[in-house]
Symmetry: C2
Subunit: 497 residues, 2 copies
Amino acid sequence: MNLPSWLETTSRNHPDKLALTFGEERWTFAELYRHVNAAAETLTSALPDPPGRIGILSANRPGFVLAVLAAVRLGIPVVPLNPRLSPAELAFQIADADITLLLADETHDAAAVAQSSRNLAVIPISSIENRPEKTLPSPCAQGEGLGVRVNLTAEAAVFYTSGTSGRPKGAILTYGNLWFSAISSVLHLGHRSHDVWLLTMPLFHVGGLAILFRSIIGATPVILHDRFDPQRALHAIDAGAALVSLVPAMLDRMLALRNDRPWPPHLRCILLGGSAAPPQLLETCLRLGIPVAPTYGLTEATSQVATLLPEQVQAHLGSSGRPLPLTDIRIVTEHGEAPPGAIGEIEIRGPTNFRGYLGDSEARDPDAWFATGDIGYLDDDGYLVVVDRRHDLIISGGENVYPAEIERVLRSHPLVADAGVVGIPHETWGARPIAVVVWRGDPTHADPELRRHCATELSSFKIPDRFVLATELPRTPSGKLLRRVLSEHIAPARRGT
Amino acid sequence: MNLPSWLETTSRNHPDKLALTFGEERWTFAELYRHVNAAAETLTSALPDPPGRIGILSANRPGFVLAVLAAVRLGIPVVPLNPRLSPAELAFQIADADITLLLADETHDAAAVAQSSRNLAVIPISSIENRPEKTLPSPCAQGEGLGVRVNLTAEAAVFYTSGTSGRPKGAILTYGNLWFSAISSVLHLGHRSHDVWLLTMPLFHVGGLAILFRSIIGATPVILHDRFDPQRALHAIDAGAALVSLVPAMLDRMLALRNDRPWPPHLRCILLGGSAAPPQLLETCLRLGIPVAPTYGLTEATSQVATLLPEQVQAHLGSSGRPLPLTDIRIVTEHGEAPPGAIGEIEIRGPTNFRGYLGDSEARDPDAWFATGDIGYLDDDGYLVVVDRRHDLIISGGENVYPAEIERVLRSHPLVADAGVVGIPHETWGARPIAVVVWRGDPTHADPELRRHCATELSSFKIPDRFVLATELPRTPSGKLLRRVLSEHIAPARRGT
């Protein structure tokens, strides 16, 4: 099933409308269209044959937007990579996803990355950022571009997300996943031609990229920030942003800066996702009249799954709202589908469900339910309450941290007999990983040695805050780690840790 | 490709929101959902096996809405029939579309209709209008209804539209056609949770039915009128309707009643379709600040194809606007695709293009261009200007009238040697058919006899206003009727005719 190209129809219908701002730079949709076409030419000449996938290793910047949209034009999947990946993690994902061309920003040593992987071309992302000549055809010229269509069932992007296996897995999203996600959000939140989105979430997360696609599909301008800065985010909202996605830690910092001064009335919705919204944060928003919308989402469902609308927060505090219009949710326990109020595993179905993981022997049935691993219930009014994210998942500052991945690294150290990782609540980051280790060496060496060992394999945000030594770990007779017991045995962090 | 059921997700997410009003009657989405389920049970017990298609022969009324939505739930295609069809036309469409169950309103003699067709069950449409008991399950009860999904590629409805062949043809629309049409309209016009649609167009036209589906998919209430009445339409707009579809003759009558009194500010958009909007009508709207949106659409594209937004009317008077986001338009002449400004045949492509006509040997390629037969051009800014509807098409009061169909009937009269039909402009109806006939009998008998003959075969609105006698008709050497020459030879109607 094919649709007309999103960027082309939007630039055809709204050529002079603002599409993107980044700092002092501005692009209309017609300018963005021309620039993306020029970027597509650059990528085409840099791509090997066969092309594999295009990796992007960068903070938010115009080149990121151009690379993604140029890849859509070429029909080549992109793999947005977390810039904080360790060299070992990066090499694994580049090989696993068959990335043949990598666009990297200046914080990465292109030569070093290229050496780490065979058959990889690395080009600076700045190389596609020079604006093309104005003489290039405009999107209104009839026929120009009409041949390019979007195949909804084709692969659009791969996002890495770790499973219980301890190895990150590449979740494959199709163009249809991205399109239906945008439409479902439009139906749920409404759609106004004067809406402006503030995009301060990283584009290498599905929640950031989904905002970009929603804006291209709906012809709504995006204010892009290179990274989250609470003062600049407040400034962008005061200057006209109507919609923004945040994680609770971000909103906390903005509230602290703003004090009780009022927020502008044009602000329609703050999508609050990533981890559970603390009740006191929501109560502050209610008191100040800030339109906050707690959201439950996950990579495998192209971000948004359920969203509590601002006008529903007062009556449904603690809920993540009703499912989006194109998503079905059910709760499943060992006894099958659960009635309202009963807690079980959250399962979801709909056209935003991903196609499967890289390396799966076959694609997922698009009509199959996806078991999220998250725990929750549907109340009598059909509102979802998420009781617990996957029991092994630690969400730290909006990043997913998977204990199994850290445990695998810890156990690879010759002096570690066993290791378990759990998350504990953290004032700033929501949660942080703590490791419990059965250590065979000198206890005084354990902390620096384990820290050094983790740093060679893991992104810095995955390195446990503390390494607690133990003589054995609580396990079931079949050997399964009892994380809940483990976390109960960890002493709370001392103040200031 | 399947989506969750539209009515079920909307009633799950908006159970207490107003869905439909009709006179003093009101339904919330949850009530509508229960009522549709009850109607589906009634239809199931009345349907033969195999079920064929469900015909609806009725003016706008709640039973029409319930029948359509119950058929969606059952996955059985509906055929909305024009209540003004002659018995012969009706019998043809019932047989051609394999209608096995017909829901008819009181203006039709059910027994007579049933006798006219073999294997046809006829039930009064009122039989599904009694509200079900309140004890039926609500849509929030988890699991209930989650099994019902909408297959976007399956057939949803057949609308009859005549071709040059002189025989009406059944255009097949899929659920996907209806869904993408609703979404494309939402993206083009915006979407607000407080929008209310006034539905005063007939539901047996695709333009009326499309409004119903748009409202179910977008969770926006519909005010349903049994027929167009300018005073009641004005009243509904004053009472809160934000969006309405009209043909120019309707808007004319509303403007005449309203005089220069202001229209309410909550009125967002009057979609003006059916036939070309007269410039003086648009100028009146501009002067009074009425948000009118001239629209080009056709049955084979599930209604809307291009819409000039209210804020664009001033600068683009005479245009039908830019294509909807999911539609591509190109202009084709004998030299191929035409450049901007060049006049040619309008061709369209996109997911709202119909699947084909009943009786076609194979389904249309969903990615193929559809040649509309209408004539127009795209200006330098990509706005469509419709120069002429299909040269043989007469649009009279919003109804399509096909000369070839009337000519076939005229030529079947034993005293008619030849016949040609053209449209001439009409103050109230936009255009009316006029017949030019080569008559072998007594000229004084021609008018009453031809009028009687047409009435046995044709809907009353298709009967020519006048029968002009001639000794021969202008034809090309190959025998093709020269309609343009024909219309130039018809004397203008006398005042009052």
